[in-house]
């Protein structure tokens, strides 16, 4: 009987159910597609991360080392070994420093080396790949030409266009070349004579636990091997990838909130639309419990069908997006359709929707058929503490579960939901009092404003929820838009700008002034090599020889010192002694970079002794500098005063942001006047960078569209339900002498004023929230107060409302009499 009535209502009143049906359908499509896209984007970022790193984990040391001492070999799937060193190659009278990478047949473990016009393949002994800088330096006209090193001949077999590992920030500015391991014996290279870096990249055959990772890090440290597990936190692109990953987390959160609010709005709307049918059934003697059952069945049927169709739709859409991206952008985003995940999403949406009916049912209790027939439901249900408690707890339970599921973190999910509930509650209290104040003052308003105020007051709890939902949707849109703009700006501008186009190396002191005279834009840094002898009277070399646990092994190496009396834009003083002035550093003072100081445990006030070419200098740490490692500019761990270092032999290196013409002028000048100097064009790096930036921007765009769509849909659902409520009031006004135009305009004013009010508060909150996210969570320094995209979205929403209102009041073709009987006829 109940089933029969439920299906009869479904069959006869399907028009009323169309909006919630479409709403849940689109929510399912958007949520599933977003989830799939975000997962794919995450996979892509992880892979990109591994490509740049060279493996799942990368180990480095300046000597050969055994992996077995650091990691359990049974978890290794593949290992790639490299050794890199500076080598001086010649061709006729051309001598050029080359950053030579000796690789094994497993290289590269991830990604690919892109060669110009040919595929990368493992080289034979005596063969070499060189980059475009070296191609120019050696004036290579065609492949097959020879260059020489250590009295051995190397045949150029290809020109490297990009190597993913180049994106790790480094200060190795020489042109790059790759040879096979076999070339070491072939050219009789004695590696002991070079300053080299051994690198072992690995692919694991399983995921590691946090403890295992810690264990590997500790073991690596104990044998003086540096370990990198991911590139995030290393500045440059590592940071960019981290920013995007965090952006995805924000997006997931916004999507889950929006989808849940959307489902709630839809179910609420559905119950409003069916209220009259229920009233009739109650008046015919049906017990209220059966009404609940019918509402539940109808709700379940609609949601079940929409989820089923939604999942099918999302598979279809995802496949098409995948094909489109693959075809147009050549990015394999690893779109995978995991049916188990689909099942989880469907289950989560279904559970949420079913839970969403509970507050609605709760609010339908104690309603008499007379009240229902007179459409007075909202007022007749008392907002008792118990009712509100049921709404809040039953309502937030599935939201919390879904947020935990989407965010993959219990804590994040809980915090997010508590935050949302607090925002909701705060806003509803504010709106309640705001409308109450206006209502009390309504007699001084003109008729439309008085009508709107009374209408809002009359809307009661439904009005509060509507406004809060609208607000949440708008906050989501604006927040996402502001964060997106900031990330986009950061990727487009900061990252590109920070990579100077030209590096200049090995300038001698005597050549410096003349060079700067001709090329004023060049920033040069003196470079003096030194070793640390002691820290606070602790003999560094002795401690290291004794394998002391108290000292970081990095302290054993040679460092580059510099001197200057100004801070770069990427630097600021983090901590200093009293009365410290960077511009006035004394002879016995040194400034340390913050992260390095922390790593090697040198504190403000420590006394250091350096040895520069056998001469000892004593200095005290009087400042710690914070350096933006993302700046792309060279930075030094140690900066001393000019007076201290000026007297020592030194070379200079620096950078300039030159275009191609200016760069060629510089090259010409250097070749004529400073033949010992090297110039590095970073274009090959920026090409890879630009490509990666474009891919990241595309990911951001793809990920941003679904929640924007979802929010817009939510706003339409909310306003749609208001429109239904207002139609009859509009008809009453028309019966009393108002024109149809007036009623339409009144509805437009009412809807737009609600959106404008919600928008204003939403924008203020969004700016605060997004700036908090941008600075604290994404850690990029873009403060955004005005965002054009948000403005366009706002204009779009307003126009949509106006158009919807015009359509609603024009297209129906109903007579006024029918409008007055609207509820009965619909």
């Amino acid at each position: 009987m109940i089933l029969k009535i439920s299906f009869k209502i479904l069959q006869k009143e399907w028009r009323k159910l169309l909006l919630p049906f479409l709403s849940v359908l689109l929510t399912t499509i958007v949520v599933t597609t977003s989830f799939l896209l975000i997962n794919s984007a995450k996979d892509f970022l992880i892979l990109k991360n591994k490509e740049i790193l060279g493996g799942d984990i990368s180990f480095e040391a300046n000597r050969s080392f055994e992996l077995g001492k650091i990691i359990d070999k049974s978890i290794l799937k593949n290992v790639g070994e490299q050794v890199a060193f500076q080598a001086l190659f010649t061709k006729q009278d051309i001598n050029t420093g080359v950053s030579l990478k000796v690789v094994d047949e497993n290289f590269p473990l991830y990604g690919q080396i892109v060669l110009r016009n040919k595929e990368y393949e493992y080289l034979k002994a005596g063969e070499i790949y060189i980059d475009e800088n070296l191609e120019k330096s050696f004036q290579i006209k065609k492949l097959g030409e020879d260059i020489y090193f250590n009295n051995a001949t190397f045949t150029v077999k290809g020109i490297i266009k990009s190597d993913p590992e180049d994106l790790i920030p480094s200060f190795n500015f020489s042109g790059k070349a790759v040879v096979a391991q076999e070339s070491l014996n072939y050219a009789k290279i004695n590696l002991d004579l070079f300053r080299k870096e051994y690198k072992k990249n690995i692919i694991l055959n399983r995921n590691l636990s946090k403890n295992e990772i810690e264990d590997i890090k500790n073991k690596a440290k104990s044998v003086d091997v540096r370990v990198q597990i991911d590139i995030t936190g290393q500045g440059g692109f590592g940071f960019a990838l981290e920013v995007i990953e965090r952006f995805l987390v924000i997006t997931i959160l916004i999507i889950s909130v929006l989808s849940l609010v959307n489902i709630y709005a839809s179910v609420n709307y559905l119950s409003i639309r069916l209220r009259r049918s229920f009233a009739i059934l109650i008046s015919l003697g049906m017990p209220i419990i059966n009404i609940y059952k019918i509402l539940f069945i109808i709700n379940f049927a609609i949601i079940f069908i929409s989820i089923l169709l939604g999942l099918t739709g999302s598979i279809f859409i995802t496949n098409h997006i995948s094909q489109f991206i693959d075809l147009n952008y050549k990015i394999e985003m690893f779109f995978r359709i995991n049916y188990l995940e689909f099942f989880y999403i469907a289950g989560a949406i279904l559970t949420t929707s079913i839970f969403a009916t509970i507050p609605v049912i709760n609010r339908m209790r104690n309603i008499s058929p007379k009240e229902l027939l007179q459409r007075q439901t909202e007022k007749s249900v008392k907002n008792t503490f118990k009712n509100i408690l049921v709404d809040v707890f039953v309502g937030i339970l599935p939201i919390t579960l879904l947020a935990i599921f989407f965010l993959n973190s219990f804590l994040y999910g809980l915090i997010a939901i508590i935050g949302i509930v607090l925002v909701y509650a705060g806003l509803m209290i504010f709106y309640y009092y705001f409308i109450n104040i206006l209502y009390k003052k309504r007699n001084v308003f003109n008729f439309p404003l008085k009508m709107i105020t009374s209408q809002k007051k009359f809307d009661g709890f439904f009005g509060l929820i509507t406004f809060a939902s609208l607000f949440v949707a708008l906050v989501s849109i604006y927040n996402l838009s502001i964060v997106r703009t900031s990330v986009e700006e950061y990727l487009k501008n900061d990252l590109k700008r920070n990579l100077p186009s030209t590096y200049i190396l090995d300038i001698q002191k005597s050549q410096k002034d003349k060079l700067l005279e001709n090329f004023k834009e060049i920033t040069l840094f003196p470079n003096i090599r030194a070793r640390i002898i002691s820290i606070d009277d602790v003999d560094v070399q002795k401690e290291l020889d004794n394998k002391s646990e108290n000292l970081d092994r990095e302290l054993g190496r040679e460092f580059n010192l510099t001197y200057r009396n100004y801070l770069l834009s990427s630097e600021k003083i983090y901590k200093s002694t009293k009365n410290f002035k960077f511009s006035n550093m004394g002879e016995n003072e040194v400034s340390l970079e913050k992260d390095f100081a922390k790593r090697v445990n040198i504190k403000l006030g420590s006394n250091l002794v350096f040895s520069i070419q056998g001469i000892k200098i004593n200095v005290k740490v009087t400042s710690i500098r914070e350096v933006d490692t993302r700046s792309g500019y060279p930075f030094f761990y140690f900066i001393l005063s000019t007076k201290t270092l000026e007297k020592f032999p030194q070379t200079f290196f620096g950078f300039a942001n030159y275009n191609e013409v200016k760069q060629n002028n510089l090259k010409k000048y250097l070749s004529q006047n400073v033949p010992n100097a090297n110039i590095i064009n970073t274009k090959s790096i920026t090409n890879i960078a630009e490509n990666l930036i474009n891919i990241l921007l595309l990911i951001i765009l793809i990920i941003t569209i679904p929640p924007l769509f979802l929010s817009s849909m939510l706003i339409v659902t909310i306003l749609g339900s208001v429109a239904t409520e207002r139609k009859r009031d509009g008809a009453r006004l028309m019966a009393l002498g108002k024109t149809q135009n007036y009623v339409r305009n009144y509805y437009i004013i009412e809807s737009t004023s609600t959106v404008v009010l919600a928008s204003s508060f939403a924008y203020i909150l969004s700016v605060i929230l997004s700036n908090f996210l941008i600075i604290k969570y994404l850690k990029i320094e873009n403060i955004v107060y005005f965002d054009f995209v948000s403005f366009y979205i706002f204009v779009f929403i307003l126009l949509s409302i106006i158009l919807t209102s015009i359509t609603l009041w024009k297209s129906s073709g109903r007579s006024l009499k029918e409008y007055l009987n609207y509820e009965e006829n619909n």
Binding site: D729, L736, G737, S815, K817
Partner: protein
Amino acid sequence: MLKNKIIQLINVSKYFEENGRKIQILEEVNLEIFEGEKIAIVGPSGSGKSTILSLIAGLDMPDNGEIIVENKVINKMGEKELSKYRNISIGVIFQSFELILPFTVYENVITPQEIKKDINKSRVEMLLEEVNLKNKTHSPVLNLSGGEKQRVAIARALTNNPNIILADEPTGSLDRVTGSHVLELLINLTTVKKRTLLIITHDEEIAKKMDKIYLIKDRKLVLQSK
């Protein structure tokens, strides 16, 4: 003294569409109502009596024929003129009251004046006294009983002092005792104020209190003797 014709229906026909089929509800209906007359239109449910009221009230338009009210053809009026007509020339009382729910009693009654942009607060107060709702002036209409709501609707219909009052089953939503009180009030007020009253009803007892009774039969109006 010869009274003026205030409402005239000349060969009015009206069709409705149901499942793509055209159904005629009124066929060449003719009606003449004179100033100050009290008319009842009776007939079974679905016979088209409410349609006649909707047509006279300008809530719906005929497919054929002319409706002349106070010497103006209302089915040829533009939207603005028609709105003005609904606001000033007639007062309509609906079976389901059609009050503006967010408003108080006073706000409902003054609304037609606000639409007319000619506020006369003392008139509203006087009308509320006449319908015996003075003590409920600032109550939300939602909290009123059915009889009280219909009395608000009567006061609202009279607020702009129209010459014609149209009532569509005004007691249909009320119990018999309340209904007869409301009807008495409506008849008294329209008599005292010398207004023309057209009531749509299926209740013979109510119809008997009117000057003339028309029966709607086979899509046409037939004058019945009282």
